[in-house]
Structure formats: structure tokens, C-alpha cells
């Protein structure tokens, strides 16, 4: 079997459903692949290691990809795991922020992902505000706790399938403002990237096919798939939060992981350029390809 090292973006969570299910169902093995998945603690690390040739595939985010490519990392997207943004601006449901315009003069927490401030800027500008009208606070590890304890009035970088459930379980439901509805072009949240030199690696195709099969299985048999996912590491994954997040994540998995929406990438690249997160728009072919 051919060995493939996959670096996840974060600890295993329902976002990785297709990967885990494919692994558990032996889809990778059937395709002649020996896949090892590794969890990092710092989401910015996996792309670097793939770029350095220390792993074959990394789970990353589309906005980060633009930044990475701009910084000269030899990376290219070859598949999409989650085809919509998950990122959102979250406030307390019973708080006094009903619209983004209400953020004026408030504190907004963010986790340093590298571009949250740009998202926020775009969202604010739709409501006639600028970053100067709010106070940005890096709350690093603790998005929901800082919101729940009133340290900040809103957080950007919270996942709609995750933090919302988390807050609900804690008894303080939140309200999400979806980035793509508030002036940010739509993008793929979770993508798979590889080194540009490895774009012709035939294993990638087998890998994506396995994922596609797993995704279809998940959509068709959500409860069974949940059990498979949960049982892959029962000790860590079997809890209320994952169960709920699973439900909310299901409908966001990309049904055609190999397909590349070129317009979407180009449009988002333009947006990134506008936000000065990147300083040129490279040719799409250089950093994204689909697998026919």
C-alpha cells in the first residue's frame, strides 16, 4: 500500500467526518492507500510541513491558502472538504446586539487565524463601520468562554456548527452572523492541499475518490455514519457537542470534493487583494487544481 501522511488542521472533529469515515470503512485501504492522520495543535503548522515536504496532504482553509501562496509556500488545493464558510460572527442570542451595526464601540474577540480582522472589516463596512469603531481583542484559545463571561461582546472566528452548539449546551445560546451574508465573498472553509510538485501524484485521485465515497455514505446514512465516526475514538469523541455538531456539519460537506469552482477562487483572491492580505493575484492554476 502507498503511504500517505495527512495533517489535520486541528483536533479530530466532525469537520473531518469524511476522512474518518473513509479510514474506518477501509475505503483508503481498498484504494491501496495507507493513510496516517496527525492532529496538530497549531493550525498554521500543517501547510508549512506539507510545503517543506514532511507530509503529503494538509487540511487547510481557503483564505489561508491565498495568504500562504502569497508568502511563497508551494501549495496547491486539490479537493474541498467543506464547501461553504463555517466562520461566523457570534453574539449572545439574548444580548443587545441585533445587527452588526450595533457593534459600534464594542469589543470583538478573535482567535489569531491571520485574517479574521479582514473578514470583520468587510462585514463592518457593509454597515458603515470601520475597524476603528470597535475594539479587537485576541482571545486566542477561548472564543466561547470570553463571550459567555462578557469579556467581549462578539467573537469572529467562531464556527457555526461548533461554537453555537457549545454555547447552547452551556445554556447561553448564541446568534451567528454568517460572513458570506455580510459582504464577504463565499469561499470553501476546509480544503485539502498538497505540495505543488506532487500535483500529479496518482494517490491523490484515489484519496479523493475514497473521500467522495465516504461523503456520500455520510449523507445517505447520517446516523450510522455518526456511530462510525464516534466509535473511531469513543473516549474522546463520544459527547453531546460532537453529536450536535455532526448534524450541523453534514449538510456542509462538499459532495464533489474534487471539483474546483475557479470563479469562486478568483473572486476571493480579488477580495483578499482588496483587503491587502495579499499583494498580487496569482494565476489560479498555480495554487488550485481539480482532479478530473
Amino acid at each position: 500500500a502507498e503511504k500517505l501522511t495527512v495533517l489535520l488542521d486541528w483536533f479530530i472533529n466532525p469537520d473531518h467526518g469524511p476522512l474518518i469515515v473513509a479510514q474506518e470503512q477501509g475505503l483508503f485501504t481498498k484504494a491501496g492507500l495507507d493513510v496516517e492522520m496527525i492532529e496538530p495543535a497549531d493550525p498554521s503548522l500543517p501547510p508549512k510541513l506539507v510545503a517543506a515536504g514532511k507530509a503529503d496532504i494538509a487540511v487547510s482553509y481557503q483564505p489561508q491558502l491565498h495568504v500562504q501562496v502569497n508568502e511563497g509556500l508551494p501549495l496547491a488545493r486539490f479537493a474541498t472538504l467543506v464547501g461553504t464558510p463555517l466562520n461566523s460572527l457570534v453574539v449572545l442570542a439574548d444580548g443587545d446586539i441585533k445587527s452588526i451595526a450595533d457593534l459600534k464601540g464594542k469589543k470583538v474577540g478573535f482567535s489569531v487565524g491571520g485574517f479574521e480582522d479582514a473578514l470583520l472589516k468587510a462585514m463592518l463596512s457593509k454597515h458603515g463601520l470601520t475597524l476603528k469603531d470597535i475594539e479587537l481583542v485576541n482571545v486566542n484559545w477561548s472564543l466561547s468562554p470570553s463571550l459567555l463571561t462578557g469579556q467581549v461582546d462578539a467573537v469572529i472566528g467562531a464556527y457555526r456548527n461548533f461554537e453555537l452548539n457549545q454555547m447552547d449546551i452551556e445554556g447561553h445560546p448564541g446568534r451567528a452572523f454568517y460572513v458570506e451574508e455580510e459582504g464577504v465573498p463565499i469561499y470553501d472553509e476546509l480544503i485539502l492541499v498538497t505540495h505543488t510538485d506532487k500535483r500529479d501524484n496518482p494517490a491523490l485521485k484515489k484519496f479523493v475518490s475514497a473521500i467522495e465515497a465516504a461523503t456520500v455514505f455520510i449523507i445517505n446514512h447520517p446516523d450510522e455514519a455518526w456511530e462510525i465516526f464516534r466509535d473511531s475514538d469513543k473516549k474522546k469523541l463520544d459527547n453531546e457537542l460532537n453529536k450536535r455538531a455532526w448534524k450541523d456539519t453534514l449538510r456542509r460537506f462538499s459532495l464533489r470534493p474534487a471539483a474546483l469552482d475557479k470563479a469562486r477562487y478568483n473572486k476571493f483572491a480579488e477580495f483578499m487583494l482588496e483587503q491587502k492580505l495579499i499583494d498580487k493575484v496569482p494565476a489560479l492554476d498555480d495554487y488550485a487544481f481539480g482532479l478530473e
Binding site: 497549531d42 514532511k54 452551556e170
Partner: protein, 260 residues
């Protein structure tokens, strides 16, 4: 033994009181009972990961101490080395994990090695500094005597400076023993899927604060056990020191003594 149980109970009580008085949200600071439940529920998970972290701690402590002592020896043996190496050592201390993590993973992969390196690195400086100070301040009279006996620099180092520095070195090793667990945990941030540090990070990200505290509690127990083992070991090694110094309070010796 009894004492450590009482201490543990005392901490639990203090904890409970804090919960009662400050009433922090459960997802920030859970009460002892919640943690206990999480501990029991995840017992085998915790123990498995404790084993891994313990290995990292002990190996890291060992390597860090050995390297720290070696570097102190180097610093003291070569007067030139000291001037140039010391700044490098200080710098090594100021580098945050996430700057090192990519390099470590790049060079050492994802196994246990980078965690041990991290733990060693954190321990390295306190030990090295303490050793170096101890070695520096050997009493002149002992050095002079050794020199008249025709001792080589190496023999002086080994037989005079090193034993003279032992109390200082012991101090450094004690600090290292207390710092090693955090070293291993920080090492697990470098990227791992195992160990108490991973469990804590994971639980923290999931807001499973009770599990995080259960892991934390275990880590603390391990730390205290390690510290006191090392402490006892060092005290045994340094029994000669006890004769010339005294830590306990002064004892009046005679009932008829005229002073109060």
C-alpha cells in the same frame, strides 16, 4: 503519606470554597465534584496518557539535567566559552514554542522526540545556570589546595568544584523537577495526539473543562510526586551538607536556660 492526603483534601476544600464564593461559570472553573466525575468517566483515557506524559517528563528531566550540567561544565572550563555561550543560552530560553515547533517537527517528526526536546529545553537553562553559579563560586582555599597538590584542571573540576557546587546544583535540579511537567505539556503542543497535554488542549478546545481539570489534577499529582522524589534523592546525596548547616528552628537545649 498522610500529609499528602491531607494536603490533597485541603486543596480540594479550598477549591470548593473558591467555587462557592466566586461562583465562576462551570465551563471556566468547574467544581471538584464535576472534575471527579470526569476523572472517573475518563479514567482509562487519562491513565494511558499520563503514562506517555510521564515518560516524556522523566526522560526530558534526565536529558535536560545532563545537558544543563554539561553546558555548565563547558562554561566553567573554558573561560572563553562563557563569554560567548552564555548569551546563546539566555536566548535559547526566550524562544517561544510556536517559533520552535515547526523546526522541531521538521527535524524530528511527530513522535515523542520533539516533546522530550521541548521538556529538556525548558529544564536546560535553570539547571545550567544553577550549576554554573555553583561551579563559579567554589571557595578559593579549596582550589588553592588542589592546585598545590598538582591537580589538573579536570581533576579540580571533578573533585573540588563539582562537589562544592552540589548544593547549588541540587537547587537547580529541584527547580527543574518542578518545571519538567510543564515542559512536557508544552512539548505536546508541538503537535501530538497523545499525552495529558494533548488531552487538556483537546478538552479545552471542546470546552470540556471538567475533563481538562481532571487531566490537570493528574498532572499536578505527578508533578508533586516527582518533585518530592527528586527532593528526597537529593537530600540523601547531600547528607554531608546537613551537618554543617541547619534548617530547622533553633531548639533551646536546657530547661534552666536563662533566655526566653
Amino acid at each position: 503519606m498522610i500529609r499528602s492526603i491531607i494536603t490533597t483534601l485541603g486543596i480540594l476544600l479550598a477549591w470548593h470554597v473558591v467555587i462557592l464564593v466566586l461562583a465562576p461559570p462551570r465551563f471556566i472553573f468547574p467544581g471538584p465534584w464535576d472534575v471527579m466525575v470526569a476523572f472517573v468517566d475518563n479514567f482509562s483515557l487519562l491513565i494511558e496518557n499520563l503514562a506517555i506524559t510521564s515518560v516524556e517528563i522523566v526522560v526530558g528531566l534526565f536529558i535536560g539535567c545532563v545537558l544543563g550540567m554539561l553546558s555548565a561544565l563547558l562554561l566553567i572550563s573554558f573561560d572563553g566559552a562563557r563569554r560567548w555561550l552564555l548569551p546563546v543560552l539566555v536566548v535559547s530560553q526566550a524562544i517561544p514554542v510556536f517559533a520552535l515547533a515547526p523546526l522541531l517537527t521538521l527535524w524530528f517528526g511527530y513522535g515523542i522526540a520533539p516533546k522530550i526536546i521541548m521538556a529538556s529545553l525548558i529544564i536546560f537553562f535553570p539547571v545550567s545556570a544553577a550549576c554554573h553559579d555553583g561551579l563559579r563560586y567554589a571557595p578559593t582555599s579549596r582550589l588553592d589546595l588542589a592546585r598545590t597538590m598538582g591537580a589538573s584542571n579536570w581533576a579540580i573540576l571533578r573533585h573540588i568544584r563539582l562537589p562544592s557546587a552540589l548544593p547549588a546544583i541540587a537547587s537547580g535540579v529541584r527547580v527543574a523537577a518542578a518545571v519538567a511537567p510543564i515542559g512536557a505539556v508544552v512539548g505536546e503542543w508541538v503537535g501530538s495526539s497523545k499525552g495529558l497535554g494533548y488531552i487538556m488542549l483537546h478538552a479545552n478546545a471542546r470546552m470540556q473543562t471538567d475533563l481538562m481539570f481532571a487531566a490537570l489534577f493528574l498532572l499536578c499529582l505527578a508533578s508533586v510526586a516527582l518533585y518530592f522524589s527528586v527532593n528526597r534523592l537529593l537530600d540523601n546525596l547531600l547528607s554531608w551538607q546537613a551537618d554543617t548547616t541547619r534548617h530547622n528552628q533553633f531548639q533551646y537545649s536546657q530547661q534552666g536556660t536563662p533566655r526566653q
